[in-house]
Amino acid sequence: MVDQKTLAYINLYAVLGTLENLCELDPAASALLTNKKPIAIGFDVQGGPSATLTFKNGRCRLEQGIKSCDIKLPFSSCEKFNGLIDGTVTPIPTKGFTKIKFLLKDFTALTDLLNKYMRPDPADLYDDEFFKISTSLMFYTITVAISQIANNDKVGIFTANLIANGDIEMSIEGGPSATLRANGGRLVTLKCKPDNPRAVMSFASMKLARDLFDGNVNALECIGSGAISMKGLISMIDNLNRLLDRVAVYLA
C-alpha cells in the first residue's frame, strides 16, 4: 500500500532532488539556468517534508527545510503535494509572485526534461549518452528513495531497524555511486562513494543496473553470475534489498 506521507518525502527528496544531478549531467538542463539570477523555491508540505531547491550558476541544490526562498509553495497535505508531481494539482505560491515566470517556464522545462529521462521513450534509450544519463538519474532517485522509505514507510521502518550502523556503498561500475548511511535505524543517502563502507553492493554495468531498476532482473539472481558483487556486512545489504523492493511500490 502506498503511504502518502512516504510518497511525499520521495517526491520531494528523491524525485525533485534529482534535479541536482540533471543539471550536472545534461548541459541542456544547466543551460536553462545560466545567465539567470539565482532563485530559491521553498516547498512546504503540511504534515510532510519541507525543502528548498536553489538554482544558481547553472546548478541546482536541494536542502532540507526552508530558511529563505524567493518563491514559496505551500501544500495543505501530502496528497496535494503528490498531486503536483503527478500533474493533477497546480500550486499557488504564497511568496514570489513576481518570479512566477521562473516557475512556469524554466522550472517546468527542467521537470519536463527530468521526466523525459525518468520515463523515457524506449527509442531514446538506444542513444548511449541518453541511456547513461537516464540510468544515472534513476540510480540517484532510487538511492534517495530508499532512505525515505526507511524513515517513513511502516514496513521500511521495521526493515531499517534491522540495519547495523554504518555506511553501505551502492555503485555502478563506470557510473554513479552513493552512500546509504545507517544510524539508529534511520537512513540518509549521500550522492557520493563512502570512504569506509561496512558493506558494498556493486553493479557490473549500467545495462545491468537499468535492468534491475526496470524490474527485468532480480538482484539475488545476479549475484550468482557475478553481475552484482557484494562484500562486507551482508545483512546490511540483505535489508537494503528489502527496501529496494519497496521502491517499486512508490515509483513504479
Binding site: 534491522l162 554504518g166 539475488l220 550468482g224 553470475s225 523492493d245
Partner: protein, 420 residues
C-alpha cells in the same frame, strides 16, 4: 608449502545451464547469494561426489567440508552403517499406504534418547517441525503471540520471516515479538506486557545467528526462562535443528540443564537422509494429535531406518565428546595460524559448531571474507557468515591439513594488507 588453487571451469558451465531453468541457478543456502560466496569466483557450485569429511566438485577439486551440507553430515558422508540400514530398508518397503513399524522403532529410540521427549512426530525438514511446534503451542494455550530472539532463524515458513520480506504479509508476522538473547529482564518485561497472550517462546539452545559472533547462554539463563514460561503458562520450544545431537545425544536442553516442552530435530538425525522430528512432553501429545499436519513422504521408512542407525552410531561413538575435542583442536590451530601472521581470529559458539571471524578494526567482515575465500580456493570449505559443523569422519590429519592451508591463507592476507 604452497597449495593448489582450485579452478572451477565446469562448475561455471553447469551454473550457466542451471540459471536458465532454475531460479537463481542454485537457490537458498547452498547458492551463491544466500551462501555468501564472496567473491563468487572462489567457490564451487556443484558437488560430484562425497565421502567421509570430503566432497569433490564437478571440476574434481576436493574440499574438507566444514559446512557438512549445513549440518546433516554428522558421521561422515556416505557412512556405511547408516547407508546400509537405509538400503536394506529400501529392499523391504519405503513409501507405503500403511507405514512401516520402523516408525515406532525410531520413536521409541528418540523417547529413550532425548531427555525431554515423551513422544516423537516425524516430518522432513527442520522447518516442518518448528511450524508444528508453533501450531501446537497455539492450539494448547489458545493464544496467538510468539516470542523470538533477535537474530533468530527457525526456517522459511511465513511466520518465521520478517515484515518486508517478499511474499510475507503483515498479518503473517503480526503476532511476533522480539527480545535480545540472554536478556532475561527484557524477556520478563515482554511477557508481563503481553500477559495471557503469549503462546510460546522459541529459541535455539545458544545464539548461533549469522554475521555475528555466536553467544552461549549466560549462567542460569535457561533455568530462568524455564521458570518464567512455567509461571506464565507459555510453551518453551527449543529449536535444536542445528545443534541437535552434536552437543548432547540427550538433546541440547539436557546439555544446558533444563527441559524444553517441545524440541525440534532434523540435520544430524539421519546423517543426510530426509527426516525431521518434533519431540515433546506428554501433556502436549493430545494437542498434536488434533492438529491437521502431514506430508506425502513424512512416514517413509527408509529415512527412519537411517535415523535409527545414525542415533545408535552417534551413541556408540560418544559423538558430542569427539566433536568438541576435534573442534577445539581445529580452532586452537586456526587461532595460532592467525596469530603467527599478526591477525586475531575470534572463535565463538560451541566447538562442535564453531563460528569464526577475523577481527578487523572496521567491523565489516571484509578481511574475514578474504581469508575464507583464500581457504576455499585451496580446498577448505568454510563460510564467512554462518557457524561451521564438525563431523565424526574428520581426522587429526584433516585438521592439521586445514590449519596449514589456513596459515597460507593468512600469509596471503598479510601480503595483500601490509597496512594492517
Amino acid at each position: 608449502m604452497s597449495f593448489k588453487i582450485n579452478k572451477y571451469d565446469k562448475n561455471r558451465e553447469y551454473f550457466k545451464r542451471a540459471e536458465k531453468v532454475i531460479p537463481s541457478g542454485v537457490y537458498g543456502h547452498l547458492g551463491p547469494a544466500e551462501g555468501c560466496f564472496i567473491p563468487v569466483s572462489a567457490f564451487p557450485n556443484f558437488a560430484e561426489k562425497a565421502q567421509g569429511a570430503y566432497f569433490w566438485d564437478v571440476d574434481g577439486n576436493r574440499f574438507i567440508d566444514y559446512m557438512c551440507a549445513y549440518g546433516p553430515n554428522v558421521l561422515g558422508y556416505a557412512d556405511k552403517d547408516v547407508n546400509n540400514a537405509a538400503f536394506e530398508q529400501a529392499k523391504i518397503a519405503d513409501c507405503t499406504t500403511a507405514p512401516s513399524t520402523k516408525m515406532i522403532e525410531l520413536a521409541e529410540l528418540l523417547v529413550d534418547t532425548v531427555a525431554s521427549a515423551d513422544w516423537a512426530f516425524f516430518a522432513k525438514n527442520g522447518g516442518d517441525t518448528t511450524t508444528l511446534a508453533i501450531m501446537t503451542a497455539r492450539a494448547h494455550t489458545r493464544r496467538k503471540k510468539l516470542i523470538f530472539v533477535n537474530g533468530y532463524y527457525h526456517g522459511v515458513a511465513p511466520w518465521t520471516q520478517k515484515l518486508g520480506y517478499p511474499g510475507v504479509l503483515e498479518e503473517d508476522v503480526a503476532n511476533n515479538l522480539y527480545v535480545d538473547w540472554n536478556d532475561i529482564e527484557a524477556l520478563e518485561k515482554l511477557m508481563d506486557e503481553n500477559e495471557g497472550e503469549i503462546a510460546a517462546f522459541i529459541a535455539t539452545p545458544y545464539m548461533h545467528g549469522n554475521f555475528k559472533d555466536n553467544e552461549l547462554p549466560a549462567v542460569g539463563y535457561w533455568q530462568k526462562v524455564r521458570k518464567l514460561c512455567d509461571d506464565k503458562g507459555i510453551v518453551l520450544i527449543v529449536d535444536d535443528v542445528r545443534c541437535g545431537f552434536r552437543l548432547d545425544i540427550a538433546g541440547s536442553d539436557h546439555h544446558y540443564g533444563f527441559e524444553a516442552d517441545l524440541i525440534c530435530f532434523c540435520k544430524a538425525l539421519a546423517n543426510g537422509w530426509s527426516v525431521s522430528a518434533l519431540c515433546g512432553k506428554e501433556e502436549l501429545k493430545g494437542t498434536v494429535s488434533g492438529i491437521t499436519y502431514t506430508g506425502s513422504y513424512w512416514l517413509s521408512a527408509v529415512p527412519f531406518a537411517a535415523a535409527v542407525a545414525c542415533i545408535n552410531k552417534m551413541k556408540k561413538l560418544n559423538l558430542p565428546e569427539k566433536l568438541r575435542k576435534d573442534g577445539l583442536m581445529l580452532t586452537d590451530g586456526l587461532r595460532a595460524a592467525a596469530a603467527n601472521n599478526g591477525f586475531n581470529l575470534i572463535v565463538s559458539g560451541e566447538p562442535a559448531l564453531f563460528y569464526l571471524r577475523v577481527d578487523d578494526k572496521d567491523g565489516n567482515l571484509m578481511l574475514h571474507q578474504e581469508w575464507v575465500a583464500e581457504c576455499v580456493k585451496r580446498g577448505i570449505y568454510f563460510t564467512n557468515h554462518h557457524n561451521h559443523f564438525m563431523n565424526a569422519a574428520m581426522t587429526e590429519e584433516d585438521i592439521k591439513f586445514t590449519v596449514e592451508v589456513a596459515e597460507e591463507a593468512f600469509k596471503v592476507l598479510r601480503k595483500n594488507h601490509p597496512e594492517l
